[in-house]
Each structure stands twice: as C-alpha cells, then as structure tokens.
C-alpha cells in the first residue's frame, strides 16, 4: 500500500484511539487520589508517548521495550502483585 492508502485505511481508527488516550489521561487527572499519588504505569505511558514523535523508526518495538522488565535474572519467587503492563520499578536512567 502507498502512504495515502495506509492513511485512507487506518487514519480514522487511530485518530479515535488517540482521542481515547487523551480522554483516559483526562479521566485520571479528574479522579481523586491525592497529591502524592504514584503509580509506575503513568510515567511509563508518558515516556512511551515521547517515543511516538522522536522521529526514530521501530516505535512499536521501542514502546514494548519501555514497558518491559529490564532485569535479566530469574526471580526467587513469583511477585505477589499481578502483571501491570509496565515494570514495577522504572528502568535505570540512561548514561550520558
């Protein structure tokens, strides 16, 4: 498919998904939860959003990697918390 054909076929679907995402973030903002609220899903989502417009390819792969456990060793026991869709702890910051 040409670029125009890709847009013709998929643009409205993804426009709607983007508006859904915007409405979801608005909903989180409106919800009560306190000033010290912290959940690893929100910063992970915001970091992933930045990957969408950094001009680099392989966005889907890089978003999935941002949402992946960065550790390598097997765990001694299964975590008590269910999977969240993002690491429970953020990955270490990239070096200079």
């Amino acid at each position: 498919m040409t670029k125009s054909q890709v847009l013709d076929r998929y643009f409205l679907e993804h426009r709607a998904k983007l508006i859904d995402l915007a409405a979801f973030l608005d909903r989180v903002d409106r919800a009560p939860g306190g000033d010290n609220f912290h959940d690893p899903r929100l910063p992970a989502l915001r970091e992933a959003l930045a990957l969408l417009h950094d001009g680099q390819p392989d966005r889907a792969r890089r978003v999935l990697e941002r949402f992946s456990d960065p550790t390598e060793a097997p765990l001694d026991t299964a975590p008590p918390a269910p999977v969240l869709g993002v690491p429970h702890h953020p990955p270490p910051a990239a070096g200079p």
Binding site: M1, R9, Y10, D58, A60, R61, L64, E65, F67, S68, D69, T71, E72, P74, L75, D76, T77, A78, P79, V83, L84, G85, V86, P87, H88
Partner: protein, 267 residues
C-alpha cells in the same frame, strides 16, 4: 479461505464456536495444555484434563470437519510448585501415544521464577528424550522480553533439541527477531488488549517475511476471539497480498511445522 488455528483452547469454547470456525474455513486446530483459570487441587486433575484433550475434544470437533490435535504438559503457571509439577509430568507418558498428540506444550515461563525455569528445563529434557515437538508459551506483558530470553537460554543449554522442532509463541515486535534469528519457528497470537492485533501481525510479516511464522487466536476462557485467524486473513488480503501469501501463513506454515509429527495429516 481454509486455515489452521494452531493454538486455541477449545475446552473453554462452545460448540457454536466450532460451527463458526468451520464456516470461516477452519480445517484443523491444535490445542496446547494450559492453565484452566484456577490451580488444580491435585495432579489427578490433569489426568482428567489430558483425557479431555485426547478423547473428548476430537469427538466434539469431528462433526464440523475440523481435525483436533493437542499438546501435553504442565503449564508454567502451575509449575511454581516443582513437586506438584513433576507428578503431572509423570502422567504424560500414558497419553503420548494418543492419535491426536503432537508434542509437549505449552511449556514456558509465567513470572520468570527459578521454579518455573527448573520445570521448563525438565520438560525440554522430557521432550528431547521422547523425540517430541515443542510448543512454547512466552510470558505476558512486562515479563515477555525477559522470559523469552530465559527460554532461549534454556533451550540452548539443553542442546538436544533441533530449532526446527520448536515453536515459540506469542512473539511481538520486541521478541520476534531474537526467536527467528536463532532458527526457531515463531507464533503471533491475535489477542485483544495484549499480544498482537491482526494489523500488527500483518505488519510483522511485511517486515520479517513469512518464513517460520504462523498466526493463532489462542482463544480461551478469557477475552479472546476464536475467529481471529480469518480476521487476519481478511486484513492481509485487504492490503493487497495474494491469496497464496495468506495461505502460506495460515495454512502452509502450520502444516509444515506440525507435519514433523507423523500423526498430523490435516489441511
């Protein structure tokens, strides 16, 4: 168009689903042993489950012209208790000669623990010892990348399994390359919210080619779609790909991998 759904849990689906799948072109399904949504209270629960997979489901599928095959194992979610898991593994040999058994699966990892890894390695060794094909489950969401790496390491450590005889399932954009680069087969699961959409699966085929790749629905008791494979066919055709390119992913590739087991003759 005819197709094979090589990963679907029909024990969790209705007879109406069989009818709808047949109407959509399904000629065969393969059903890996998996977690039932609750932990079994004893290993004997697995004996009944294996009877269901080897005796009941083939009879339920047959009136619709669908050939039913299955895979046996203890799934990774119930492998956290190694003693329990080993009792289940000891049940498997009595079912291995059933006419619809294709191999060992879906083995793999769930939360990437040491116990899960130990049982995975024991089931890889069991498959090698009994010359069985292997179907591998990779973990969900944030655990997938790490789990896929640990699984590839475990297969490499065994050293007695040909990469041709292993399919690693539920790959996504961040794991597909590591699986294909090591020479394994890869499965893309079309699943709402997690795993791949039909559109992303089509993207991956356009990026990586269709060699050693298949798609499946992994339809089960949760939010899932037993008609996901024909929906992928529609998506791929709508992009202008030829009918034989669609057949390669949804019929020829499953047939090529599964036919390594002489019992498989569908499609």
């Amino acid at each position: 168009m005819p197709y094979i759904d090589p990963h679907i849990h029909m024990v969790s689906r209705t007879t109406d689903d069989y009818a709808a799948m047949a109407a959509a072109g399904c000629v065969a399904v393969t059903e890996p042993a998996f977690w039932a949504g609750f932990d079994r209270s004893s290993p004997e629960g697995f004996r009944d489950y294996f009877r269901q997979l080897t005796q009941v489901e083939p009879r339920r599928a047959a009136p619709f012209g669908i050939d039913h095959y299955c895979w046996l194992c203890v799934n990774p979610k119930e492998a956290e208790d190694p003693a329990f898991a080993r009792e289940v593994i000891q049940l498997i040999p009595e079912f291995l000669d059933a006419p619809n058994v294709l191999g060992i699966g879906e083995i793999g990892l769930n939360r990437n623990t040491r116990n899960e890894l130990q049982i995975l390695e024991e089931q890889i060794a069991f498959a090698a010892e009994h010359d069985q094909l292997i179907l591998v489950h990779t973990p969900h969401l944030e655990d997938k990348r790490k789990g896929t790496t640990l699984i590839l390491d475990a297969l490499r450590r065994n050293g007695n399994i040909s990469t041709d005889r292993v399919l690693i399932d539920h790959v996504e954009e961040h794991t597909i390359r590591m699986v294909l680069d090591e020479g394994y087969w890869a499965g893309m699961t079309l699943y709402p919210d997690t795993k791949c959409t039909p559109q992303r699966a089509a993207d991956l085929i356009e990026c990586y080619g269709s060699e050693r790749l298949w798609v499946n629905s992994a339809g089960d008791w949760g939010h899932s779609d037993p008609l996901a494979v024909p929906k992928f066919q529609q998506e791929f055709r709508a992009r202008g790909h030829a009918a034989d390119a669609v057949d390669r992913v949804t019929l020829d590739n499953p047939r090529a991998f599964l036919s390594q087991c002489e019992r498989f003759s569908a499609g």
